[in-house]
Amino acid sequence: MSDSILTFENIEKSFFGVRVLKDISFSVPRGKVLGLVGENGAGKSTLMNLVGGVVAPDSGHMLLDGKPFAPRTPRHANDAGVGFIHQELNLFTNLSIAENIFIDGFPRLSWLPVLNRARMRSQTRQFLAAVDLEMSPDTLVEKLSPGERQLAEIAKALSFDAKLIIFDEPTTSLTARETDRLFALIERLRSNGATIVYISHILGDVLRLADEIVVLRDGELVGQGPTADFTVGRMIALMVGRDIKQLYPPRTSAPLPDPALEVKGLSQIGIVEKITFALHKGELLGIFGLMGSGRSELARILFGLDTYARGEIWVDGKRQAKSSARHSIDMGMAFVTENRRDEGLLMDISISNNIGLVSLPHYAATTITPLHEAQLNGQINGVVESLKIKASDVGRQAAKTLSGGNQQKTVIGKWLLDQPSVLIIDEPTRGVDVGAKFEIYTIIADLAAAGTGVLFISSELEELMGVCDRILVMSNGEVQATFARAEFDKERILRAAFREHVPS
């Protein structure tokens, strides 16, 4: 047997006349972890979709175990021993774990068209033990946390004896502890002889896990070698094609003394407790906390999506009268949600319609009179230009056709038409590549320079430390500590965030 499990030979692929993969040739070493990195749109996912049988190459071919490999459907790929853990998990929430694992090939009771439940259960129990998930095979998937769902999906890959498992951005919705568990599992799979392809934007993780690294840029292979040859800096330089001196734009403006948002003693049973802080005009205030610390829930309450029992919220010196998103928008608040796919964008309508959505009332006299189209379009084009959204036709192209980074810019764009006085932005750079991250930080900093108070929620401490004027640390639904820029210290901030769950 050769020492490479999968070989790409001169792979070419185009979508709508755009070359996405250009003459890609490389080998995946057997029994190793291969890290695959590149910006959004570099062709990583397309390449792996070829292996997973989701799309077919235009020319070139693949060899699996030295034999020609051309899967036409995901089923073929599975049968050949390729497991694919997609970024958006591929599980049926209304079915049990066991049913999910066997959905495309149920064991039957001899010749009867009836499920062999006993066999499904006992086999599922084995697979679950292999991934360390202590759950009954009959548990419905909707009751699992994101991390547990991921483990269930890996158990599914084990069920058809996958020798090559592809992970596409597996950690985006996992907590730190779940991520550690996943990494331990990947190590174990490797030591049992499986080969892993690991795709991620979190370059530190790639360095830690991978034996070998492949870098793609604009559909071309720009670097390959053992992990020892790489540093985060070198990977970024290869991905972007130039050296990025700075990951974060410099802060050029300073906060003003007037508060943009004041929160006094905000409480809601089981969610948050006595939250008090002030956000100043032109300030970039970071909120850091672990998963489940209540940071996203606080954002929803502030924006009026959820109610609160006690406390006061003041925006621009006026008290928020009721919990309603429309009311909050009228008061000058804007909210970029953590979940842009489900909550932030209307995927099937055009980019310009998405951007115009929030401000429509301002471009017509009443709700039933015609819009001032020309004026609105002029404004929208201005926003598209200033955000550098890369699209061929913003008036026609649907939002879903954009890459992750450009989708995020579109979400931010819809709030820019009216200069908001408070912008709450939740995990804006999740799943976004390095270049687009820098652009998003710049947009946020520009907004602050224009006087907007920005509440920047993130689970990546580095970016908060790089961008914010102050960081507020939450855990167990409470504000634990506040750090000014001069006092930023990774260890102290983390310690404050971990204070949770220690009974006092």
Binding site: L95, E99, L115, G477
Partner: protein
Amino acid sequence: MNQNKRFEQFFLQNTPIILFVVVFLVFGLLAPRFFSLQAAETILKQASYIGIVAVGMTFVILTAGIDLSVGSNMYVSAVMAGLVMQDFKAPAWIGLLVCLSVGMLFGAVNAFLITKLKIIPFIATLGTMVAGKGVGLLFSQSIQIPFPKSVLELGSTRLFDVIPLPIIIFAAVVVVAHLVLTMTPLGRQIYAVGNDSEAAKKAGLNVGRVLGTVYVVSGLMAALGGFVSVAQQGVVHPGFGEGYEFNAIAATVLGGTSLFGGVGSVLPGTVLGAVLIQMIQTGLIFTKMDLYLQPLITAAIIFFAVLLDAFRNVQLQKMRRRNIRVEKGMPVGASAGDD
């Protein structure tokens, strides 16, 4: 979690059956005759044919589809069966066979339009609803078609001289459908497609085949339901089947099957829904309600049930949401909302 909340959760999780019991008791108190065995038999017999059609509809709705053509299907398949038995003096079993074949063919046309031509189910079956009625009228020339006496006798046969045959057929259909949905690969795949058809495709399922199957099943069930109904009435009149799609959809939804797909059951779900609708209609007759008010009251109860269902889903979702904070005095583990 306190007593009140438990009770609320129990109530919300069992709305179909609670509604069923409440309606039953209310009519019973208004008209004591309603509690008799005679009344129960009438209701079940009347519910059987709509119930059979609704079982097919449940398969379709579980995949997040809809079949508006079942009423027309009932008409055209019954017309064909009647003509074969009238003009060729065919025996009853040939009539039934023709009826079921026409129904399946009708369903296959829907399946073709939806899976091959990719027309959305609402439009595809709206089209075949109108076209199917046209085909039926073309053959019947808008004239009533009588079923032979032998079939009519079959309709009033009782098994062991006790249980009417229509109820037996309904029960058999329900049992088979329930087993198919819960015990077979096809059944679990129907739920999977209804939950997320894109994911089903990625998991290697033949989504087209699953979808095609449910429309053929729906066609078959519509034809069978139609035959059972005509076997009780004796003739296929030109208006036969009109509006039955509403009853079938209502029975399915009343039984707790979600129009968004992936959630629901035939047993107890759709059975409860079908019997509930019939119970309301029979109950209104028993209580001598004004004839012109009856449809309004039926509609009101259906709307109320669907409203309750929507409210229920919102409430259940709220209850399942995990609490972030552990409040003082709260036992450990109680915060992570158990089902």
